[in-house]
Amino acid sequence: MLSIDDLHVTYGGAVQAVRGVSMAVPDGEVVAVLGSNGAGKSTLLRAISGTLRLHRGRIDSGSIRFGATDLAGRDPAQTVRMGLVQVPEGRRIFGRLTVEENLRAGGMASRDKAAKARAQDRVYDLFPVLRERSSQRGALLSGGEQQMLAIGRALMASPKLLLLDEPSLGLAPRIIGQIGQVIAEINRQGTSVLLVEQNATMALGVAHLAYVLDVGEVSLSGEARELARTDEVQRLYLGHDGHENDGGDGAPRRRAASGRTLSRWVQ
């Protein structure tokens, strides 16, 4: 469905943020992209959605294809109309608009009123709390509710592929679990998902395939379940000590933060 081939992206003509990344999101699957800060995860999503220009970035070489269409040079409004919708990092809901207006803003790309009504019902079924709060301003929602609104807003465009940029950011573990379930449910309803995360536990729990980005390059990739067992992922992203904890289900042992360990994200 989405295929990225040998993608190179630079900012301001100098900083290389993505260096030769290739990956694919098969139809109907959830694909996770893991990586620490600065690994190039958000850059990847910007390149797909067409917002690189707003950040003075550009694609130097390589291609991004959605089905048979090349996405290079498309603006975000066009990619949304093709069925790729992004939930940006940090939620970025419209705080001064009501919940309902936020959803309306998400459905702006389509003129099909019936489809929008169906999408809105789907969003309210997925997140009943949004229905209750539909006339409240977005800024007054809690962090978890804002994330749900951000996802719901993106679903209003009835995407074929949903791009999620760190939906777990800043949320309590219980809420992160809910977000994981919602992603699985959205996928079950037929939407493919590209999930960019630092929270490897949640991401590998819902994803079929996963890629690990490291300083702009893919360092590991494979089936999410397999990847979760590899030493490197255990050590760097799940905070386990891979040698002692050989795929066992025992309580994950925490490691002291050292080197590149992302112990901050361990639940």
Binding site: L54, P76, G95, L97, E101, N102, A105, A154, A157
Partner: protein
């Protein structure tokens, strides 16, 4: 008392015209983050077009075409200049609009020459009496038309798709784009609406009691700037309140100028700016300017 009521009514009617101009100013700022100084010359363009076209086309058709010309000029400014400078610093854009304004103004002044063009308003220069209070017919009609336009504007801003798209992109342009909202379209539509509002304001600004189209209409239009600023540059409601405040202040200062002689003659002309400075000293972002509403 009669004098007070009369000044009040005239102030409101003048304020309604300022509010039309200030609304356009605010909408442009919200949609394209440009502080547009082109409004003075756009307004003069509207007035000039209506006056020149009235003879061949008749008054009403001239108004329609004149307002359309003003809107089209705003459209061209957005498409040819502002849209291509996306990402330029806000200050540069503001200076660019000053440049455009001066070019347009110079050309209009050259065309007008030393004439005072008249717009043949069918309602003429007569005045109406409401009780003891007199107001020019032109100003009365202006108040009604401005009221209707402003109400329509606020309804659209609140309920229409355009309004939602506009408010969403004003709050967070990048995210609005990610939702599929076309920022360019939102911006150009804002300019066109501002052009229409300026054109309508022009129609009434050059009628009684003001004597016809002359470059002084330009300086009258400039008073809508302090109206927009003191209301809060990003607040449409603020533009309305600011416009009314400036209109009232000007009307009272002119009406009571005998009592205000110690401040010197022509106080009415500067009072809009004094009101603006006074308001900003206490509320730097204007009366209704954004104070971020967020829960931490």
């Amino acid at each position: 008392m009669t004098q007070f009521l009369s000044l009040l009514l005239n102030g409101i009617s003048l304020g309604a015209i300022y509010a039309l101009i200030a609304l356009g100013f605010v909408v442009i700022f919200k949609a394209s983050e440009v502080v547009s100084f082109t409004h003075g010359s756009l307004l003069l363009l509207g007035a000039y077009s209506i006056a020149r076209l009235s003879e061949p086309l008749g008054f009403y058709l001239a108004v329609v075409v004149g307002v359309a010309i003003t809107a089209f000029a705003a459209f061209l400014i957005e498409r040819l200049i502002i849209n291509r400078l996306r990402g330029a610093p806000v200050i540069s854009l503001a200076i660019v609009t000053i440049g455009v304004d001066i070019i347009l103004l110079t050309e209009l002044i050259r065309r007008i020459g030393s004439d005072i063009l008249n717009v043949p308003h069918p309602w003429g220069g007569g005045s109406v009496r409401i009780g003891d209070v007199g107001i020019s017919e032109n100003r009365l009609i202006a108040t009604l038309v401005a009221g209707v336009l402003i109400a329509l504007f606020f309804l659209a801003f609140k309920f229409s798709n355009w309004g939602v798209a506009m408010r969403a992109s004003a709050e967070d342009g990048e995210t609005a784009a990610l939702m599929g909202i076309r920022l360019g379209r939102v911006s150009v539509l804002a300019w066109v609406i501002a052009g229409v509002l300026a054109g309508v304001a022009a129609l009434f600004l050059v009628g009684s009691p003001t004597p016809g189209v002359s470059p002084t209409a330009y300086s009258v239009a400039l008073r809508a700037f302090p109206a927009a600023i003191l209301g809060g540059l990003d607040s449409t409601g603020g533009a309305l309140v600011g416009g009314l405040l400036i209109g009232l202040a000007e009307s009272f200062a002119a009406g009571y100028q005998d009592q205000l002689l110690f401040l010197g003659r022509g106080f009415g002309d500067v009072v809009p700016y004094i009101v603006m400075i006074a308001v900003l000293l206490f509320r730097p972002s204007g009366l209704f300017g954004t104070r971020e509403l967020t829960r931490v």
